[in-house]
């Protein structure tokens, strides 16, 4: 019986989850729909990070910057220009991807911790500029009351818009990761020297992965504007980047859907624990430590390992 459930066509399972999620705004109060939208946006961000961290093996320590660039791009298009909104939605991921490529060009010359450190300094440079350039970005206040186009202004409409885009993005990511490119990327992660030796251009593959990931991060940033209607420099700050990093590790960074779970756990924790106590980061810290000690593969990794065990014992019988 259990085997029958786990062996069902994953396509059907996904479709079922989607139908379920699409029905939720009909029954849930508005606040929960808003929280779900926020989870979707954060999940897209975490998934995009996992492309480079989990599958590419690069220490992308400052991914939040690209999220912030996407958010600021859309916000600036909507507030400072009279261009139609779709241009903003198109420009956000493209600008992020360009920034990702430029920063990546510097970073891929280095490895591991040095890669991460250089990225943090380049990212902090962008944060510092946004933090101080009052004329353009509103400085430390950010930009508030961004006019969201009418057709996605209501909470349930924006929910469907975000769910739609999230579905498309996740499908594209799935296809990318299961393409020859995805396999090569994982090969580069596991043994860059050998890849270099058999003629794979390591840096090129890393750069493409970074560009793709930052593209999706920028899209997630523009969706954040749809949900919140404001942008602020904290979106570009390194604390957010580390938080997203944690989501990947928490959910399980060697699994496909792990980061979604990690994002959901952290956003939900912040929202619901934050209601009861102002010390929610203390609770997050304790949960993280428990996780490190007991579930080092992440929640999803743990679940997948369990399912695999069950299957193996079932077939042995």
């Amino acid at each position: 019986m259990r085997q029958a459930i786990t062996n069902k066509n994953p396509f059907l399972v996904t479709a079922g989850i989607l139908v379920f999620l699409a029905c939720l705004p009909l029954v849930l109060p508005k606040f929960y729909v808003y929280i779900l939208s926020l989870i979707f946006v954060t999940a897209l961000l975490a998934m995009s990070l996992n492309l480079v961290v989990g599958h590419g093996g690069m220490y992308q320590f400052h991914h939040g910057v690209f999220y912030g660039i996407g958010a600021y791009t859309l916000a600036l298009v909507l507030t400072k220009t009279s261009l139609p909104a779709w241009i903003g939605f198109a420009a956000a991921p493209v600008c992020s991807a360009i920034a990702g490529l430029l920063i990546g060009l510097f970073c891929v010359r280095l490895t591991k911790l040095y890669f991460g450190m250089l990225q943090i300094s380049l990212g902090s440079l962008i944060w510092a500029i946004a933090f101080r350039w009052y004329a353009l970005t509103g400085g430390d206040d950010g930009i508030h009351g961004i006019p969201i186009p009418g057709w996605i202004a209501s909470i349930s409409n924006s929910y469907y818009f975000i769910l739609f885009l999230l579905t498309i993005c996740l499908s594209v990511m799935y296809l990318i990761l299961h393409s020859p490119f995805g396999s090569t990327l994982r090969a580069v992660r596991d043994n860059p020297e050998r890849c270099e030796a058999v003629g794979i251009n390591v840096r090129f593959h890393q750069l493409v992965a970074i560009s793709i990931a930052t593209f999706f991060a920028g899209l997630a940033g523009s969706l954040f504007v749809v949900v919140e209607g404001s942008v602020f420099p904290d979106l570009l700050f390194w604390v957010l980047s580390l938080e997203v990093f944690i989501m990947c590790l928490l959910g399980g960074w060697f699994t496909f859907a792990g980061p979604i779970l990690g994002a959901a756990i952290i956003v939900a924790l912040r929202t619901f624990v934050g209601v009861y106590t102002e010390y929610w980061t203390l609770i997050l810290g304790i949960i993280l430590i428990l996780l490190i000690f007991f579930l080092p593969e992440g929640v999803m990794g743990f679940v997948e390992a369990k399912i695999k065990d069950r299957r193996e014992t079932a077939t042995r019988r």
Partner: protein, 298 residues
């Protein structure tokens, strides 16, 4: 763009001194981070939180002892010791069980520690802004280059090099310092000759955190002590360690000088974007010397 008009030599000189004294604080904090990074190979994200605890502890000690010179000296001694105690507990209770794990997991652990310590500070000291006064003989200013220069900053200019020399003597002249340096280079060999590597790590971690606490106690009279200090310092400390060369103490000194001086000259030349300058300097250094200016112990 608002370039300051007529930058005089005196202004340059006094900004240089401000930058240097800032660099001394950065050096004391960063050398601790660098020491931990060199020996344990762990980027300790919680280092900034320990610095913050040092500053808050100094505040409490100074207030408890009535704000005079004895309170200040007591704070300089006991605040770092309190921080060292906290780190010893964290290390022996939790961290020491993780050394065999993946690198990112250690990073994750220190991040969790940062979250926990940040909230504990909020619980103990609250979210208010605090400030303490330097003792009587370090208040006021002396004329340097024709413009007044705070005495406390001159004091920092003395303390910084003293700590640097002390740390250098410690790591080259004492047995435990030599063992720690050896563990940084080849930990398996150190274990093979019969030294308890776990305790060497504990010692290095606690010493690094002690320096964070000392930095916090020293910075307390010059800034408002508040939550969020940890976030500000840790990223600077990491960048300094990286441009200096991971685990290299003199690299931490060079990096701190670059960071402190570009910061204060940024204030002089282009105040609005002053915070951009040090990051730009880091980018330039890492572009030219990807592995840092001095030799890394990794």
């Amino acid at each position: 763009m608002e370039w300051s008009e007529s930058i005089s030599i005196a202004a340059l000189g006094s900004h240089l001194l401000v930058g240097l004294s800032r660099a001394m604080i950065l050096f004391i904090v960063t050398s601790g981070l660098s020491f931990v990074l060199g020996v344990l190979r762990v980027p300790n994200v919680a280092h900034g939180s320990l610095y913050m605890i040092g500053a808050f502890a100094a505040f409490s000690i100074v207030n408890a002892l009535g704000g005079g010179a004895p309170g200040f000296w007591a704070a300089l001694v006991f605040a770092p010791l309190i921080v060292a105690g906290v780190s010893l507990v964290a290390e022996r209770a939790l961290f020491c069980h993780l050394y065999e794990r993946e690198h990112l997991m250690l990073l994750l652990f220190t991040f969790a520690l940062m979250l926990i310590l940040g909230d504990l500070v909020k619980m103990v000291w609250g979210a208010d802004y605090r400030s303490i006064m330097a003792p009587e003989f370090l208040r006021g200013s002396l004329p340097v280059f024709g413009s007044p220069f705070p005495k406390y900053n001159l004091f920092l200019l003395i303390v910084g090099p003293v700590v640097a020399v002390g740390l250098w003597l410690f790591s080259t002249r004492t047995r435990i310092g030599k063992i720690a340096r050896a563990a940084a280079v080849d930990r398996e060999m150190v274990g093979a000759v019969g030294i308890n590597v776990s305790w060497v790590f504990a010692f290095a971690f606690v010493l690094g955190c002690f320096l964070a606490g000392l930095g916090g106690a020293l910075v307390a009279p010059t800034v408002s002590v508040t939550l969020g200090m940890d976030h500000d310092i840790i990223i600077e400390a990491f960048l300094i360690v990286t441009i200096g060369g991971l685990g290299n103490m003199w690299g931490a000194m060079v990096g701190s000088l670059i960071f402190g001086i570009t910061q204060s000259f940024g204030v002089l030349f282009w105040p609005q974007f002053a915070i951009v300058f040090p990051y730009a300097a880091v980018v330039i250094v890492l572009t030219l010397r990807p592995k840092g200016l001095l030799k890394s112990v990794w």
